[in-house]
Symmetry: C3
Subunit: 192 residues, 3 copies
């Protein structure tokens, strides 16, 4: 009996963490347990254990080959966790960097992780813009709705590639304004 | 002298089967023969021979690992057929399931199948909606034009990934209202 | 100390060569050297050395298996060059052929090439149309803005797949009318 590995992604500000936490609370009421792991946190813990970094910010400054190795180890570690529990992996389909969109789950990570489902949380680009502007707790780079739309586009492309390589499904869930409950309900159905 | 393997896909209601059948009839007149195989049917026949299922609906209820194995065997079988004849594979780029878009040709199938060309049959989303509504022979889930557009988007992403993995080309043919003949003619040129 | 391999692509007429040449001139002033290689030219040179072709047009008429082998060898050769210098690879994300969109960097080329960054040069579809119409030095097939948009779409899909397979980033740079300097500046930052 294999547990599920569900990867949940979304652009910054789309509310994927909120939707995920609420869906997992709902499922708990029905006796279905999921463990949430943040991919970046798992990478950081591994790099720290290996004595490579002390702070999370140092991760991205490691040589690419080392980063790649740690990514792979993180994939393996999460796959190990999935032997004990259903897992939701909180990560990004692509990360927008100054050098371009970086895939969150490159091929060598997918080989280890074997996700069953990739969930893309989406919203209209103007909704995301407004959510970012009204979130005073975080300092985010300013992006236009066109930029946000481009990021969503590339996230879909990357997610579909992950699916072709692994056989996972890609579920798109809209987290529209005033309709958080609907998004949560849809995610609950996917995680069941 | 290798025969061609052409995969033809499209969302439900776009008319890919009609376009395919007409194109193959046209080619026959010119002395070019293609054998049409439905990927799902090949999978079903294999599963039946193995004593795993009796009805086609049981296929999707098999454990994922078994389904994967049967998919791979179907890919291999079609590649075998291609030693004798040109093959058109009737399948889906992605299948819309409750758990999300499932790739029709995951990596392990492509490894066996080696398609030369992937043909995406497309139409405007409202044309597809109207065709679905007026097709009384089938009971289909209701989808909005936005939903249909999302499916077409993901089909393109998946098809391009298939191409990168195999070196196949991706041909997009529009099957617009009142222009079936044009679509057929384009497909004939691709299959020549 | 590994040099960089940056792949720069764009649809015909978008001006990717202009942007690239100007960016490389700028970088030279700052003491950063890049060698530009055209993927097709490298393929041609290899095929010529092997005695397979005399003219570049003959490349595409070679049997697919031979073409595949030459592509792979070209990828290897460029990766070799990258041991000596930073490399910009001038190529296409997808090539529009009568049989559909052909991926410029299929999986077996990526395995050899290991690009660090894939840069997509884009513009509005009507800008590209007007540039093509006003370029009298080249005879190009006529394409509508819808066709051009489709090509840009498929280029993004292919590029993101390249990224997932290799870990490269995908940077989209807009080469808008009257804003060439902005595009050049953005590319300079990416190549630094």
């Amino acid at each position: 009996m294999k547990n599920k590995v569900v990867v949940i992604v979304g652009v910054p500000g789309v509310g994927s963490t909120t939707v995920t936490n609420k869906a997992i609370d709902e499922l708990k009421k029905e006796g279905i347990e999921y463990k949430i792991v943040n991919f970046g946190t798992v990478m950081f813990e591994i790099a720290k254990e290996e004595g490579l970094v002390e702070h999370r910010d140092q991760l991205r400054k490691l040589p690419p080959d080392i980063q790649k190795k740690i990514q792979k180890m993180a994939g393996k570690k999460i796959a190990e966790m999935a032997k004990e529990a259903n897992i939701v992996v909180d990560t990004h389909s692509t990360i927008k960097t100054p050098k371009g969109y970086l895939p969150g789950l490159p091929a060598w990570v997918l080989e280890e992780l074997h996700p069953d489902i990739i969930v893309l949380i989406e919203a209209e680009t103007d909704e995301i813009l407004m959510r970012r502007l009204s979130d005073e707790t975080r300092q985010r780079d300013f992006e236009s709705t066109v930029d946000i739309g481009e990021h969503i586009f590339m996230n879909r492309c990357a997610a579909m590639t992950y699916a072709v390589l692994t056989g996972a499904t890609v579920k798109i869930i809209k987290n529209r304004d005033f309709l958080l409950d609907k998004a949560v309900k849809e995610l609950v159905e996917v995680l069941k």
